[in-house]
Symmetry: C2
Subunit: 452 residues, 2 copies
């Protein structure tokens, strides 16, 4: 049965200024209104954990799906289909009559009037606001590099990267100039964090194993895969020995790892790093992120990456009714270093905020400060090795890969997605066949094959 | 091991005029060169059946994938993922060293010089040419309707239709004007052939069953799904009693079937049919097709739909070295009516051409005229009914649906895709969950939610 919510007067009519839309007049049934912006790991966890609390929740996202970002690189590298790692938000919450899902883009927050402003002039009033709006990849003041070095944050990013990867091989097959062919078979990944390492490892396997034999004029094993990192080692969040292991594992897959080489230029022809120019037609960006504009909406203090400098309880200074969680928030962990921008951290923060809201409504003492518990760091190198750092336990190689794989399947939402991802992985192992080798959005005659 | 083909002089250097590119100089090892344009059902079958023949094959397609078009409507209606019904062509042919796959767009045919002209100025010489370039949906001289009534021929068409369908419900959830809400919940499908029937049935199920309970301000069961057909009955390729059964089955799903009502206008606001105006924000086109421009490339006689009027042996009049098959060819079946534009017909024609080429090369007598054997007609109405017409056997209902489902899974390429599609269907049955409910390529703030 579809839920029907009667249209009655807003409880906050006195506070609402300017245009009063029908959306605003929709009722919360007199309940405390929690508005959550963002259906990623943080926002979704907060929504889930508020179950049973005496609140009316409005969850706003500009996309209709929750995305399992840790596996996004597998969509980009033809291992998984888009629908295997994304799930419609309103479908996840269909059994929750206390939750209203809105597909809308937030344009700002009226903190005085306690309203979230939407595209089209609508506004949604709140008693408590949770901003979980995430981050985008960023180019450190070089936004002009974006067309040449796409990043990886959305499903469209992933299909764009996939199209570029596959088209590079197709164009190399048709290329008659040997220099051009080598440029087409050169793949540069900028940034040695987990995403960069995972992209480089999978692209190397794609070129050296999976695509072998599919072409007649090129040998895909002639491909050059280069991972460029400005710092002294890859995977800086891991211990030094795990970083060294990962570097060795990548090199065994045929990846060239360039350390201590910041990128200084990037265009359609290639990339300049550490004073060296490399001709390459495919450049991928995995080097940095910029938080969503939540700090601007709130006029709140932020760090250089745009993350809101929140209080220890994740509220915005001067606004105890506004929480910021996940990649948009900057808060220190118990060891004095910033809480990392990873899914488990966002989920812990979302859960903490739900508990805080629940305690406040019951008049109980506040949960105090958010305490981040680091469960561990994981990264894969291709389909046969991984590094796992639980602090008390460090693993590499095959065992680490299996642990990584099981953990990711476990954290996927829904039995069906788990089966589908397991089936896709099984096929890569058994048959070497990657299931999502589709070039879409632009065919051979379109922009995609155009010579830049 | 990747195949390496040496670059030697073309066997047809004397016939080649103008620019001689490196592509042309690539060798066929002195073998008879067959160029096949189009990796759909006809072109792929011809390639497969030429296995072992003393020929060198170049298969050209502007997309990198073979598409299982009979299930495309299921991608459009959120049942299947794109990668479940598409497979990279060069991967399908990786074990065939005699086949070279080219991702390229054909711009014309130089019949005098026996060369296929490609984008970018390249040309591929042939001794025998097979054109299997398919058809696009067509608007009977009303191309201005296309933006308002998208058709369904490519994967991008399917994701476009899916986005429009899902966004209509999202926009209805946010709509405050009741007339606008009703227009958003009105879905018109133009054309009562199998595609139109299958779209209408699935959209009705989506609205009346699967999406129920996901929204808070609309009842998706208020949706209106209208199937408009200009002729006197739907599914005209079936017998009259099966047409009548299909109409009743659609009506049971809540579809309004409008017969004998040609569409005379179509815009962002709705559609005019049989003198009646219906406000609707989602209009889908399943009413007609236009063949690819093969006839223009060849300067060959064509029918109104642009199909080449081929000889009984599927060659082009005056060009025994050029074959046309599938949706681009017009030839009569043994009963004197045109061979239908369906996958089995294209596959039979592709196989016939492969046999003819083989016979010619052996100096055997030609296989004579192509004889079409109609295996049967199938169409589904939602997920519980179908109509099957084998001539000697007619089935409806549940049994027909199962036969339809098994036949389609059988004809999918690859064990993995069969498992994946079976899993997706199983989940729709068991859980009512459709796996591909993603809105991609345009978010809430983009064109997609813009008010036209």
């Amino acid at each position: 049965m579809a839920e029907r919510i009667e249209v009655v007067e807003s409880q906050t009519g006195d506070r609402v200024e300017g245009q009063t839309s029908e959306l605003q007049r929709r009722s919360s049934g007199g309940l405390h209104r929690v508005v959550i912006v963002g259906g990623g790991f943080g926002g979704l966890q907060c929504t889930i954990d508020l179950k049973g609390a005496p609140v009316h929740i409005t969850l706003i996202d500009r996309r209709n799906h929750h995305l399992f970002q840790p596996l996004l690189y597998q969509v980009a590298t033809t291992s998984l289909a888009t629908s295997e790692i994304a799930w419609p938000i309103r479908s996840l919450l269909r059994t929750r009559p206390d939750v209203e899902t809105l597909l809308a883009t937030v344009t700002g927050v009226d903190t005085a009037g306690r309203r979230v402003l939407l595209d089209g002039g609508d506004a949604v009033p709140y008693d408590t606001l949770v901003l979980a709006t995430g981050a985008r990849h960023a180019y450190f003041g070089h936004d002009e590099w974006e067309p040449f070095a796409p990043g990886l944050k959305t499903l469209e990013d992933a299909t764009t990267v996939r199209r570029r990867l596959l088209l590079a091989f197709e164009r190399a097959e048709r290329a008659t100039d040997l220099d051009e062919r080598q440029a087409l078979l050169s793949f540069v990944i900028i940034g040695g964090g987990p995403t960069g390492v995972e992209l480089a490892g999978t692209i190397a396997e794609l070129a050296h194993e999976n695509l072998r034999g599919d072409f007649r004029h090129i040998d895909t094993r002639d491909s050059r895969v280069v991972l460029v990192e400005a710092g002294p080692r890859i995977l800086p969040a891991f211990t030094e020995d795990l970083s060294a292991y990962a570097k060795g594992a990548l090199e065994k897959l045929g990846v060239t790892v360039e350390l201590g080489r910041p990128v200084t230029d990037c265009n359609a022809d290639g990339v300049m790093f550490g004073g060296q120019w490399l001709r390459a037609r495919t450049i991928l960006w995995a080097a940095g992120v910029q938080a969503s504009p939540a700090a601007q909406w709130l006029d709140a203090p932020a760090d250089r990456a745009g993350r809101v400098l929140v209080e220890p309880d994740l509220t915005v200074p001067g606004h105890p009714e506004i929480f910021v969680v996940g990649d948009t928030a900057m808060v220190n962990g118990p060891d004095g270093t910033p809480v990392p921008g990873i899914a488990p951290a966002a989920k812990q923060q979302g859960g903490f905020v739900a508990r805080t809201i629940g305690a406040r409504l019951k008049g109980e003492p506040s949960a105090g400060a958010f305490r981040y518990a680091h469960a561990g760091s994981l990264a894969t190198i291709g389909k046969r090795a991984a590094v796992v750092d639980f602090g008390w336990l460090k693993l590499t190689g095959w065992t680490a890969w299996w642990l990584w794989g099981l953990a990711h399947i476990y954290f996927l939402i829904g039995v069906r997605n788990r089966l589908a991802v397991a089936l896709s992985w099984l096929w890569i192992y058994l048959r070497g066949q990657r299931s999502a080798r589709l070039i879409t959005q632009g065919d051979a005659g379109g922009e995609a094959l155009a010579k830049d």
